[in-house]
């Protein structure tokens, strides 16, 4: 029998339900089959015209539609799908009655171009000012757009659908958001505030302006042909990340509560850590210290050493800078073992699901623990000699995995890591 508390005397936090949607498909089964087969979900964009764009591919979720289409609406739909799957597996609570809070990683919300253009058409003149837009905005003609474009709207609607308790938290820590949502859930359970938490990361924002913004920062791959080859983490010729959509939902519970109700225990969130980089708005400190500190804090939180980690689910965005800095940070902590621990980046196949990535990759890490099989990093044909990781290149690897570190690093100096294990320590 294992102890109901961890080595620091805190409640052990386990995962009892998971749901996932990516450009590869909906659900754990379809995603796992395609991930381990090395399939790519990246494709040429068909949702909107791609003329004049430098990057014309993305990991869009095209098999889900919302009407009228908004990125925020798609974001909500993907979160709803993933949450539905997670709750079904977990069997927790009852319909529309989840016994705990919601922590939602979601992109900042804005009025979007189709709706802005609708305003423009309603104005009825050719030299348009914001005062004209204000004039047509009032009087109830566009009332639903207020609710749709509130930052809290996705969370509010999830609360209505799933009956989570209390005030839902919508958060953004950029590309680390999904990991932060999980961390907030872990902390709440450890504090004894709740026995369960619903942690969701969701992203539906492949739209022209979002793509252009990242493009103008030179963050995106421009290797459009073939689109499936664009995301190549740790490869010599990587040139940027590929935007993608998706969602991941996890039901976290205290081990005690999960055991008491006979819930499936899919894994343990053994440790979480975060550390802010103050060097630059979009770049990592060249000495790697914030990443190193983040990884060390996570190991300390789990009460583990680098020797206890036997797989790293990398942030691995496929940008020249991220992958280099991730190696620098990991190798500083893991020493020579950095070259021996199998490392893989799910983003090679699903792309970078930005706000959802931390949650999506935590789920893939837990599936890795379940199946004892590491999904590959595809497009790993010409390794970057400056990054001597043991990359699980191109085909899945069967391997004994007991503890996975999942890293997430984002704009604004956001670094967060998680350690996931199969069994309570």
């Amino acid at each position: 029998m294992t102890a109901p508390r961890d080595k620091f005397g805190r409640p052990i936090v386990v995962v009892t339900g998971m749901g996932i949607v990516t450009s590869l498909g909906a659900g754990k089964a379809e995603n796992w089959a395609k991930l381990t087969a090395g399939e790519s979900g990246i494709r040429t964009i068909t949702r909107f015209p791609i003329d004049a764009l430098k990057t014309t591919m993305a990991g869009t979720v095209d098999f889900v539609s919302v009407d009228p289409f908004t990125s925020t609406g798609l974001t909500e739909r993907l979160a709803t799908m993933a949450t539905g799957e997670a709750l079904e597996q977990s069997g927790i609570g009852s319909k529309a009655d989840f016994p705990g809070p919601l922590f939602l990683a979601v992109a900042p919300v804005e009025v979007e171009w189709p709706q802005r253009m609708e305003l423009g058409r309603a104005i009825g003149k050719t030299d348009i000012t914001y005062d004209d837009m204000l004039r047509v905005s009032s009087g109830g003609r566009f009332t639903p757009y207020h609710e749709r474009f509130m930052f809290g709207s996705v969370a509010a609607h999830l609360v209505e659908t799933f009956g989570t308790k209390g005030s839902p938290i919508s958060l953004s820590t950029a590309c680390a958001s999904g990991a932060t949502a999980i961390q907030l859930g872990v902390e709440a359970i450890r504090r004894g505030e709740t026995e369960a938490a619903l942690c969701v990361g969701t992203e539906g924002s492949v739209n022209p302006e979002a793509l252009v913004r990242f493009s103008l920062l030179s963050a995106l791959s421009t290797q459009n042909d073939p689109p499936q080859g664009a995301s190549k983490p740790f490869s010599k010729h990587r040139d940027g990340f590929v935007m993608a959509e998706g969602a991941g939902a996890l039901v976290l519970e205290s081990y005690e509560a999960a055991v008491a109700r006979g819930a499936p225990i899919l894994g343990v969130v053994a440790g979480c850590g975060e550390l802010t980089d103050t060097f630059h708005r979009t770049r990592s400190s060249p000495d790697g210290k914030p990443i190193i500190g983040c990884i060390q804090k996570t190991l300390a939180d789990a009460g583990m050493t680098p020797d206890d980690i036997d797989h790293i689910n990398a942030h691995g965005t496929s940008t020249p800078e991220n992958d280099k800095m991730e190696y620098l940070g990991v190798s500083a902590v893991f020493g020579e073992r950095a070259k021996q621990i199998p490392v893989s980046s799910n983003k090679s196949m699903v792309g970078h699901t930005i706000s959802a990535a931390g949650a999506v990759e935590a789920i893939i890490s837990l599936l890795t623990l379940e199946h004892q099989r590491i999904p590959p990093t595809i497009n790993y044909d010409i390794p970057d000699p400056a990054i001597p990781f043991d990359v699980v290149g191109n085909s899945a690897r069967d391997q004994r995995v007991t503890a996975v570190m999942s890293n997430s690093f984002g704009f604004g100096g956001q670094n967060a890591s998680l350690i996931l294990t199969r069994e309570p320590a």
Partner: protein, 402 residues
Amino acid sequence: MTEITTAKPGSTEVWITGIGLATSLGEGIDANWDALTAGRINVDEKNFAPYVVHPWVQVSLDAQIPKKGDQRQMEAWQRIGTYAAGLALDSAGVKGNKEILSRMDMVVAAGGGERDLAVDTAILSAQAKGNSAPGFLNERLMGDLRPTLFLAQLSNLLAGNIAIVHGVCGTSRTFMGEEVAGVDATRIALARIAAGQSDIALIGGSHNGERKDLLVLYEFGDFNLRDRFAPVWAREQHPGFALGSAGAFLVIESKAHATARGAKPFARLSHVVSDMSPRKRTGDVTATLEQLWSQLGPREGGGAIITGATGAEPVTSEERAFLQKHADFAVRSTGTRFGHTMETQFALGLGLAALSISRGALFPAGDSSGVEIEMAGPPSQIVVVGAGHWRGEGMALVEAVG
């Protein structure tokens, strides 16, 4: 009805040891206090007519954001917040203290999305002139958007800028979701310190109300106050909020941590609670507020309430119904005095509550509506209330350290 989420105070007492305010009434706690005491309100009825806004009082940014390069990398809302965060760190006596800043936790409540109005209107005008070629939008966006604007639009880049400019780099989390994001940022920071998961945190937010893109968003729901300023409690026939501009940040820390470094408290932060009322029926918000009120722990009668009531309906009437049940409390509206600063309003209320307690007096009543009554003695307990214009309710209890 949803249950309450509450930051339960453990044995760890949490103090407010730093307050940073940069608002439409001025910079710093003294300027804001003096303006409140004098009953001064800074309102602009002309530049955004017919809409009413509370403009930010310009400051010498160099005092808190010394590098011009940093100032250029931000838009107004981030400059306001980064400035106010610096004031809070100064107020707490931790500015430049690398040992403390390197482990200080930060929870910011933020919106985002400052638009380039010229780009937006140029694209809409071109569309109106018949330009509908495929890729037209892409071409204009690729050509016209400033690369750095994106970073001013990302919600978490307020925290990012505070980290870069002031070196706050323990942890950084940004909560979104309008008014209640400010409540939850405080709730989580308090809960972590109370449970020993954190020793010291910087919390708060900032808002620039002088933005036509924001006015458009709220005009979809007819939430903007038009034509003439009126106190929040005198808007029933003419409801709406006047967007405000403010940065409000607090440093909160465990009593033990503050005592060890010789820091003096403004006040104690005892409880923070929040919920999301379904708002399906009349009375839902009133009931939620009443329930939150009951979660705040033991209180003496006849205290004070500082509320972020918006002036928008129906929520302001719902809140008035709640306040009428507690008519012995002296109510003060931050909305009347500062406008509605959305994610920032709760931190602003907390700052004013802590300030009022430390100065031994509540600032004077602000209108003749009868909602705001005078308070004779020094306040020892102030409840800060926030009910969002659309969703989300929260409260905090701020008390004298004793």
